[in-house]
């Protein structure tokens, strides 16, 4: 979108903030609203029998992050660790395993002592021997954005179309837990801006 090759995009909090704060050429259309707003939370997880009680216990251990651009599996966990005084160099090891699922499975299989993931992703693995070490923490939503250069009428139509979309078949093809599209504003991403500050 930054290069003008796409006019619509589905973006998480981190990309939105990075693009919006750098070029201001995108505009929010609607956000995902999952059942119980489950996608708006993230948790720090560890194995069920891991000896950790608090985030601070993770000092000197290993940690799995998701994608480098992921808010829920990178920026937010890293910010939470930092708040406990745990910086990346203070970890024995860490890695970006590219997805929330890989974070969960890496922790599950013992590659790392803990990791940060969205709650809705973690719930898919709740029968595995894992537990939430910290959280859930509210995070900004994922949203549909468009180039701000699009005609206003088109943007209105797009927004309207998304907001009125209530056919479960269509919604479930996007995500089985999706309830609808909801209105969204730039303020909803202030937490992201705060977390992603240096």
């Amino acid at each position: 979108m930054r290069q003008g090759e796409a006019e619509l995009a589905f973006v998480g909090p981190a990309p939105y903030v990075q693009i919006m704060d750098k070029s201001h050429n995108i505009q929010l259309l609607a956000r995902f609203k999952m059942l119980h707003e489950i996608d708006d939370r993230m948790v720090i997880i560890c194995k069920s029998h891991a000896p950790f009680q608090r985030l601070a216990d993770l000092a000197g251990s290993t940690f799995a992050f998701g994608d480098r651009q992921s808010f829920g599996s990178h920026f937010m966990p890293r910010w939470l660790l930092a708040k406990q005084g745990i910086t990346l160099p203070s970890l024995t090891a860490y890695a970006f395993v590219r997805s929330h699922d890989n974070v969960i499975l890496s922790v599950l299989h013992g590659d790392f002592a803990a990791g940060g993931v969205r709650l809705d992703v973690f719930n898919r693995y709740k029968e595995r021997p894992l537990r939430i070490l910290a959280g859930p923490f509210v995070i900004p939503p994922h949203a549909i954005v468009c180039l701000s250069t699009l005609p206003p009428s088109l943007k209105d139509k797009l927004r309207h179309s998304l907001l009125v979309l209530n056919d479960p078949k269509i919604l479930h093809t996007i995500n089985p837990l999706m309830e609808k599209f909801a209105p969204v504003s730039d303020r909803d991403f202030n937490l992201a801006r705060k977390v992603m500050e240096k």
Partner: protein, 570 residues
Amino acid sequence: MPSSLKTTFFRRLNLLAVFSALLFAILLVRAERMILLNDLQNKGDSIAKILASVTLDAVMVHDYATVERYVSDIVRDPAIISVTVRRADNEILAKSGQGEKKEGVLVVTNPVTIGNERFRHIKISLATDRVDSISKILLLVTIGAVILFHFIGLLMSSIALKKAVILPLAQLNTAIKTLRDGDFNQQIILEEPAEFANIGNSFNDMATTIRANFEAIKRQQETLQLEQNKLATIVDSVADGLFVTDNHGVILAFNSSATSISGFQAKEAIGIKCTDLFRTTLCKDACALNHQGETIRNRETTMMTKDDRTLNVSVSSAMLYDSQDQAVGGVQTFRDITADKKRHEMYCHTEKLAAIGQLAAGVAHEINNPLSNILGYARYIKSTSTPDEIERRTAVIIEQARKCSDIVKGLLNFSRSSGAKPGTFFLKEIIVRALDMVRYKAEKQDTSIHFDCHEHCCAYADQAKIEQVVFNLLINALQTNPRAQNIWISCGQAGKGIYFTITDDGPGVDESIQQKIFDPFFTTKEVGEGTGLGLSICAGIIAEADGSIDLDNRPEGGAIFTIILPSSKP
């Protein structure tokens, strides 16, 4: 009822076909199942290797989600029951699919290695249900196909069997039955198959041979029947009685002459033992069966007729043998010689009287001398004798009278018909008696008689008849050879019998008449001098005694009569 060739053939063919079909189907299904399982194994191996590669790459970057997604995607294949990826410590990295099944599962494992280090391994459980299902379908289809082809094969085989075997066999069977019923002109024409054509040709040859043999047998039977008829006619027409016995003496055949002689009808005689029918020693005396199979010729014995008359019969007997040279009985012929025997006795007596007549002149002279002496002495006593002279001359008279008496007694004894029967006697005694009767004639013609005989030579015969034989031969020697100066008489043992010879040194007997000399009424004497029966009677007596008489000429001149007699009862 025995099963037919078709039934037997197809029963076995069916059994073989069903067994083969089952075996073929099982082998085919097993082979197909092995192929399918091998394919399944290859599929599992391929998936496992790919998954191992993906797992290796994913694990290196902690991309376990990819592994899980891969595992989930793989399990969507209905042939795959479950997929499990484990770490070296056996902890499950990813697992998808149903729980473990023990049956109908093919398990494929593949290690995930870095270098030689195995740090993960993959286990894929593949369902063999489809293989089983295909195997079952294939089994059913195969059995069905085999059964179908089998029935088609049976149908074709049945047609072929009928054409190639059943019909030729039926034709052959019909021909054999026709041949059996006597149609020897039966011929079979079988062109194929070659084996039956050969059988048909062999049958035709056999029928030809049988026909030829049958015709030959028929001709032989006709010839045999003709010969049998001839033989029956001959047997029935012979003058002698004839009967045939088995080995136990039971009469099997009885000709009409036998009926005429014995009075028994054939139907009365057949089935009766010889001894029971004739009630004499005929069978014991003269049947070859009772003499170790010895052929018997003209042996005299007796038999009892149906009306209880005793007949003298001459019996000949021989054994009958079958084709294996085993004795099966005997054949006996018999002739009624009762009349012949009486006639013979009469001839003998006549001959004896003739001999006496011939002796009469000599005897008269012989008696005349003592009578003259008696008369002279009696006259002399009457006229001049003193008592001493009377006693001496009376003794002479008595001696001369006794001499006359002995001569007359001898003649009377010789002329009397003998009623004696065969018995054992010393030959020397009868020769001496015969010599006494001919001594006068010998002395008269100046012929010396030399006698050399062993004291104990015994003969078995009618003693009186043998004495007549000796007498006849001596008279014959003296009468026919008046020039003979010597007559030699000798006797001795000859094997089981005895012999005696009477030899003279006369001119001998011409060879041309030697064969006739024993014929009745043959004589070389002048008419009125002989009856021509002497030697004939001698030969008859000797034959009757189971002996023999022969005539030879001496090399030096003269004739030799040799008589052989049994020394004991045969």
